[in-house]
Symmetry: C2
């Protein structure tokens, strides 16, 4: 025990405990005996689920806006419309709540990448991946911001996720890129730098939204703005991977399954 300042009540500076596991899945059988007790219990579970949802949603917003250290339980409670004590009742400590928010986000992060398949057409598969990432930036900007903030400040909570889950997945997907390159279907690139390019470009529109908006002179970014950004990102990334001629007209603006 060295530091005296790194006490448990300074949660978001140098926390050590990693995220242990995905959310406790609540798959109780719901017996539905018609006793009063069972009805009360069922209602209780519904209330619990709704409250947990509201708290997580409010927490994601506040953590995104203020960072982990800057967020306060009182703020989150206000945004969730609940008394502060209830947050502690459901989540224990602020760190626990922060980890629960992060845990939700990690799934968002891995899923789109997991879809990359070597048997697919490179341009089509990469276009779909970029679209999924841009949709995430448009629809869940706060999730992206919380994730960015966590990495920016050392990833003390998700270090293990990065070193284990993400690294393994990237190893597998880098092999996909390498296969495409060796088959002559893509220009030579360092696969991991190629992924860094896609991640940084797509997440930029969520994490640096203020800068994007201000430089473009917009008050708010619309769905059309994002459609344009997405088309440009797709175009530039495909060119960078040797998958589109330098002078093509804007390609791949058409729909992709799952995007409305």
């Amino acid at each position: 025990m060295a530091g005296s300042r790194l006490t448990p009540s300074r949660p978001c500076r140098k926390m050590v405990a990693p995220i242990p596991s995905p959310f406790p899945s609540r798959s109780d059988p719901l017996p539905m005996d018609v006793t009063e007790k069972a009805q009360t219990a069922a209602r209780g579970r519904r209330i619990r689920r709704e409250n947990v949802e509201r708290i997580l949603k409010a927490a994601e917003l506040v953590f995104a806006e203020a960072g982990c250290a800057g967020a306060t339980m009182a703020d989150i409670a206000d945004k969730a419309g609940l008394p502060k004590a209830n947050l502690h009742y459901y989540f224990g400590t602020k760190e626990d709540l922060y980890r629960a928010v992060l845990d939700n986000i990690l799934r968002l992060w891995l899923d789109p990448l997991a879809g990359l398949d070597a048997s697919a057409d490179p341009a089509t598969a990469l276009t779909a991946y970029i679209r999924a990432k841009m949709d995430a930036s448009r629809l869940r900007p706060n999730a992206s911001k919380v994730f960015a903030n966590e990495i920016l400040h050392g990833a003390s909570q998700i270090g293990e996720f990065l070193a284990e889950d993400l690294r393994r997945l990237v190893d597998r997907k880098a092999a996909v890129i390498e296969q495409w390159i060796s088959e002559g279907r893509m220009a030579p690139v360092d696969p991991r730098q190629f992924f860094f390019m896609i991640w940084s470009m797509t997440q930029h529109y969520a994490d640096f939204e203020v800068q994007v908006r201000t430089v473009l002179g917009r008050k708010k970014l619309t769905r059309d703005d994002f459609a344009h950004f997405t088309a440009e990102v797709v175009r530039m990334v495909l060119r960078a991977g040797g998958l589109a001629p330098p002078d093509d007209p804007v390609s791949c603006t058409g729909g992709v399954p799952g995007e409305s």
Copy 2:
């Protein structure tokens, strides 16, 4: 007065005051009369300058690691090797210190971009710009992180900088890109999205350094790592701008003035 929680002592959440001006330039003539008084004054000024430097350096580190809200004056004072009260003596409040750190960083940000010139060769000019940005990520990662953190959480301090200085500069430099495109020296791109690509890719190596390092399985990123990253970023960006054939060997690994 609506909010009771947004008091002046919650500095890094919803501060309003923007950065007013660049640092007060200390261009006193230094009279050097050989009186005891003048000698004492000269020594005092030197000590002041040195202390200010040490505090700014320590503050940049702590703000980068912990974010604005998570940083504490006690931490900064420890890292600077000075008592906490001295920080307040030199900088007044924590916000003032934070703004001083940011102010230093904004110059780093504008200077490389300002060098982009329409009369230059596009590939050469863009390569130099990317190298300058990658050097900044390698040599001043904490500056990049403080900047990223400020944008991420709403840019309450540098909103005016973004809307005025940066926006004007980007307008001018977007015209350079457009001119290159209209002259057929570059593939068609949205110039501003093109800049967003360069910014996000290059700053990624500072801001997301932990993730880069972990995904690559490295304990520390070396100068050679950065040389490789830079070569890849240059290659991908040039291709994205239609400035390099898809199957070129790695280009532009040679030296550029100012890079050691």
